[in-house]
C-alpha cells in the first residue's frame, strides 16, 4: 500500500530526480485536499486535531483553532506532524484480508512556527480563502487589523514530507480468483451538492462561477 505510483499528470512531468518527482505529487495532494490533521505533543501525550490549511511554495500554512492556541502556549518551533488524506476508492477483494482503500496521502514532520507579522498573516488568510474556493479572495472584504490579531497561523516547511498512494483493483490470492464473489473498486470522491445561498443574501447577487463549477480535482 506504500509505493508511489505516478498519476497521468505527474508522469509527463517526470524528472530524473526522485525528490522533484515526489514534490509534484505532494503538492497536488496538498492542493486538492481541504482538511489536514495536525499532531503535537502536550504533556508528553499525543494530540491530533483537524483544521484548515493552505500550501504556498514549500510551506504549509495551518489555520488557527484550538490546536494553534495550544501550540502557541508551547512556544515557537514546536514539533508537529501533519497528515492530509484523499480517499479515492474502496477496494473490495474476494477475501476479507485483501480489502483495502485507494488513497493519496501526505505526511509532514517538522517544527511549526507561529506567524506574528500582520502582513504575513494577511497573506495566509488570502491563501486559506483561495484554498477553500479559488477566485474567492477578490470578491470578499479583506481582513482588518483586529481580525489579523485574532488569526493564528502556523507555518510548517515541507522539508521532511512524504507521499503515499494506492491505486488500482484488488490483489487477491491466486486460489481466490475462482471464487464466485464480486470484486472491484468503488471509486469515492468528495463532491459538491447545489450551493445554498445565505438567508440574508441581497437581491440580484448571483452565485459565482467558481462556486457553480466547483471541482477539487481541477484545483
Amino acid at each position: 500500500m506504500s509505493q508511489i505510483t505516478p498519476t497521468e499528470r505527474t508522469r509527463v512531468r517526470r524528472l530524473p530526480k526522485r525528490a522533484v518527482y515526489d514534490r509534484e505529487v505532494l503538492y497536488r495532494i496538498l492542493d486538492e485536499a481541504l482538511v489536514c490533521h495536525i499532531g503535537f505533543v502536550a504533556d508528553g501525550k499525543p494530540v491530533v486535531i483537524p483544521t484548515g490549511y493552505a500550501r504556498h511554495g514549500d510551506n504549509l500554512y495551518i489555520h488557527g483553532s484550538t490546536a494553534s492556541r495550544m501550540l502557541r502556549e508551547l512556544g515557537t518551533g514546536v514539533d508537529v506532524s501533519v497528515a492530509v488524506t484523499l480517499l479515492d476508492g474502496l477496494v473490495l477483494a474476494r477475501s476479507a484480508f485483501h480489502h483495502s482503500m485507494n488513497y493519496r496521502s501526505v505526511v509532514v514532520f517538522g517544527k511549526a512556527t507561529v506567524l506574528s507579522e500582520p502582513a504575513e498573516k494577511r497573506e495566509a488568510l488570502r491563501l486559506f480563502t483561495e484554498h477553500i474556493a479559488p477566485g474567492r479572495w477578490q470578491d470578499v472584504r479583506p481582513p482588518n487589523e483586529n481580525e489579523l490579531k485574532a488569526t493564528a497561523v502556523l507555518r510548517l516547511p515541507l522539508a521532511e514530507a512524504s507521499a503515499k498512494m494506492r491505486t488500482g483493483g484488488p490483489l487477491d490470492d491466486d486460489d481466490d480468483y475462482a471464487l464466485p464473489v464480486w470484486a472491484g473498486v468503488l471509486p469515492m470522491r468528495l463532491t459538491p451538492a447545489s450551493p445554498i445561498s445565505d438567508e440574508r443574501l441581497g437581491q440580484g447577487i448571483a452565485i459565482p462561477k467558481y462556486v457553480n463549477d466547483y471541482d477539487r480535482t481541477k484545483i
Copy 2:
C-alpha cells in the same frame, strides 16, 4: 466552531444526560467516516498516520499498517490520539475572516492495546470489512490463520472522546451584510462513482446491491 448541535437523528433520542447524548453523536460520526488519523509519540516527537478503523460498542479498532508496527514496538498501552473528520460543506462568508467549513469530527484520547488472540483479530477483520461495505462479510473468504498472524489491530476504548461540529450558513459582521458579495454554503459529501469490476472477475457475477446502493449517510 465548537458547540455540539443536535442532528435530526439525535434530537429525537435526546436523553437528559449529556454524556449519553454525546455518545450517540460520536457513534454516528465514527460509523459514517472511513478513515481515521492516529497520532502517537515516537522518540519524543509526534507522528500522525491515516488508516482504516471500525467501531464496535465502546471500542475503536484500528487497522494494522506502518502505524501499528511502530506502536507494537512501543509496547502495549501506548498513548494515542485518534481523529475522525467528516467535511460537510464550505462556508463562504462576505469577509475573508469569517470563511469556515461545516464539519463533524471526533477526537479520542487513550491507551491503545494490540490484539493478540486470533478470535479477537478475526472479529476485528469482520468489523473492518463491514465498516467499509456493510453486508460484505458474508460474501468473502474469511481470514485464515496466516492472515490473522499478519493482521495488526489496535483497540482503543472510547472513554475519553469528544465530538465537535459546525452546521449552518456564514455568520458575518453586521456591517458586511450590505456588501454585494454572494455568501452561502457549498455542501460537500464523499460520494461513490460507478463500481469498477475487477479485470479478472468471473462471468455472470453481478455487482452486489450493497455496492450499487452504497451511501455512507445511511450507515
